[in-house]
């Protein structure tokens, strides 16, 4: 550590290092503490709901197998929380970074080893946070400008940001308590007051929330001015994320279409569409809940998965691979663990909202199961392979 006298003398007298460069009364500890707490809570909500989504569909096999079928809208709610909170956090993040910006140029840059570590933690927090909100926002608006697969990168960025957040909370614990316990200091000067600044930033978060929440609540769809989706807007009143290509369309509309049930079954099946239609039909009101946050509930009608499995005499604790007519891509198949395979609400749907499935919703047959990420509600189902 350099001697004290040397420290102050060495402060450069130019640009952001100059004493008094950042003259706004809004860079104070109280402003930083208030916005920081709100932002920290928002990030923790995002992290926890993000982990839930990760373990539901990308975690080790036991977490995917343990993922429950009830409550039917659990994933809908956690994922809406994830994306809506992440979007509403953007004004808070911008405000927090602006308030704390003078600290970037503090002098001396490093006082002691612990201070160096603290600053590295802030670096991880800032880089991770900006990375998460920017790539997250780009991803839900389908602007794939980044040169990496989004889900893995977003998962990675989350841990980096959270590591930085934990260090930052520890480093700022006492200063934050002090700033909030002290009576609000009188901030001198003209222009926007602290209360005014907080109101503008909070108001911006509120506007983002109001203009995007219609992506999950059909009654508010008309307000979804800035959302990438509107609840209830799409063919048959349900948004689509993955449309049928020419090959899928040809296979789906062919008279030769069959639903096969193969693998570990006593009596393999090969059912035509007419045979499926003549089986007992069940209805279920279930949401399509996208990992991107949007969701829409709909009425589905078709054959219960478990009735087809019983017909083929599959074992009751079997895991099923549901295969699509699609040949390639991440959505060409999904795994149905017993929690979902045996659930009475899990259907191979033939109808949506009272009409034959639209081709982009998976005609002739799609999987729809309770509390399941939309990407795993396999469309254009042609085979159930019992594992």
């Amino acid at each position: 550590m350099p001697p004290d006298g040397h420290r102050s003398a060495a402060r450069p007298g130019f640009g952001p290092f100059r004493e008094g460069t950042f003259s706004s009364r809004l860079h104070g500890e109280r402003t930083a503490a208030l916005i920081g707490i709100a932002l920290g809570i928002a990030f923790i909500v995002c992290f926890v709901t993000g982990l839930i989504s990760h373990f539901a569909q990308r975690g080790p096999e036991w977490t995917r197998e343990a993922w429950p079928a009830r409550p039917v809208s659990l994933y809908r709610i956690t994922q809406a929380l994830h994306v809506l909170t992440g979007m509403a956090a953007i004004p808070l993040l911008l405000a927090k970074l602006w308030v704390a910006y003078p600290r970037l140029w503090e002098w001396p840059p490093v006082r002691d080893p612990l201070h160096a570590i603290e600053r590295l933690g802030v670096g991880a927090l800032v880089a991770g946070s900006i990375f998460q909100v920017v790539t997250g926002l780009l991803n839900i608006f389908y602007w794939y400008a980044f040169p990496f697969p989004f889900p893995s990168a977003h998962y990675t960025g989350a841990w980096i940001a959270m590591g930085g957040l934990a260090m930052h909370v520890g480093a700022k614990w006492q200063i934050t308590r002090r700033a909030l316990r002290a009576p609000p200091d009188a901030v001198r000067g003209t222009g926007l007051s602290r209360r005014g600044f907080l109101a503008v930033v909070g108001g911006a978060s509120g506007v983002i929330l109001v203009t995007t929440i219609g992506s999950v609540i059909p009654g508010l769809a008309r307000l979804a001015l800035l959302a990438p989706r509107r609840a209830g807007f799409g063919p048959q009143g349900v948004p689509v994320n993955h449309t049928a290509g020419p090959r899928v369309r040809a296979g789906a509309e062919s008279a030769d279409y069959r639903l096969e049930v193969t693998g570990a079954v006593a009596s393999p099946l090969s059912l035509s569409l007419d045979e499926l239609r003549s089986m007992p039909q069940s209805s279920a009101v279930l949401p399509i809940s996208c990992v991107e946050g949007w969701s829409t509930s709909a009425t589905w009608r078709g054959v219960r998965v478990r009735e087809i499995l019983d017909m083929a005499r599959a074992s009751a604790d079997a895991t099923i691979r549901v295969e699509s007519l699609e040949q390639h891509g991440a959505q060409r198949s999904s795994t149905l663990y017993p929690n979902h395979a045996r659930d009475p609400l899990s259907l191979l749907a033939l109808e949506l909202n009272g009409a034959t499935l639209h081709i982009d919703h998976g005609y002739p047959v799609r999987l729809i199961a309770p509390n399941r990420p939309g990407v795993e509600q396999t469309k254009w189902v042609t085979r159930l392979e019992v594992l």
Binding site: W98, F131, F141, Y142, T156, G157, W173, I208, G234, N241
Partner: protein, 139 residues
């Protein structure tokens, strides 16, 4: 941190944060990610924010203080902050990069119109604020 402060909370934060950060870095190197791409976007995001966006905001703020009369200063600052946040947030929507001819349920909104309407609302509110604040002060 002043000398009287206990270092305990900081050390707890370090103890909790280091493994989390470690998991993140472990993912970077084991997930078959484009490491250079991730690094460029992580560092690039901070660089663009700290060296471009924030200096522009400070420059605009300094200019505003020189040009704006007292009673207009706070409403103008508020309107500029709100407008800036809104436009930044709407960049992906406004870009239209995600529009899909095959899937009209993607990006179904008229985003330029929505942003224009919200900006109009912000500036009308700021105008009303400035005028009413002026009247209260009797200027």
């Amino acid at each position: 941190m002043s000398r009287e402060d206990s270092r305990v909370p900081m050390l707890i934060g370090l103890a909790a944060g280091t493994p989390l950060l470690g998991i993140g870095l472990y993912q970077v190197f084991t997930r078959n990610l484009n490491i250079v791409g991730i690094a460029v976007w992580m560092v690039g995001g901070v660089a663009v924010h700290d060296l471009v966006l924030v200096p522009v905001v400070f420059a605009a703020g300094a200019l505003l203080r020189r040009l704006a009369r007292d009673r207009w200063l706070a409403p103008l600052q508020a309107a500029l902050v709100a407008s800036g946040i809104l436009v930044l947030f709407a960049v992906p929507a406004l870009s239209g990069k995600g529009v899909s001819a095959a899937d009209p349920s993607r990006l179904p909104g008229d985003y330029p119109r929505a942003v224009a309407g919200l900006l109009l609302g912000i500036w009308i509110a700021a105008g009303i604020w400035a005028l009413s604040a002026g009247r209260r002060r009797g200027t």
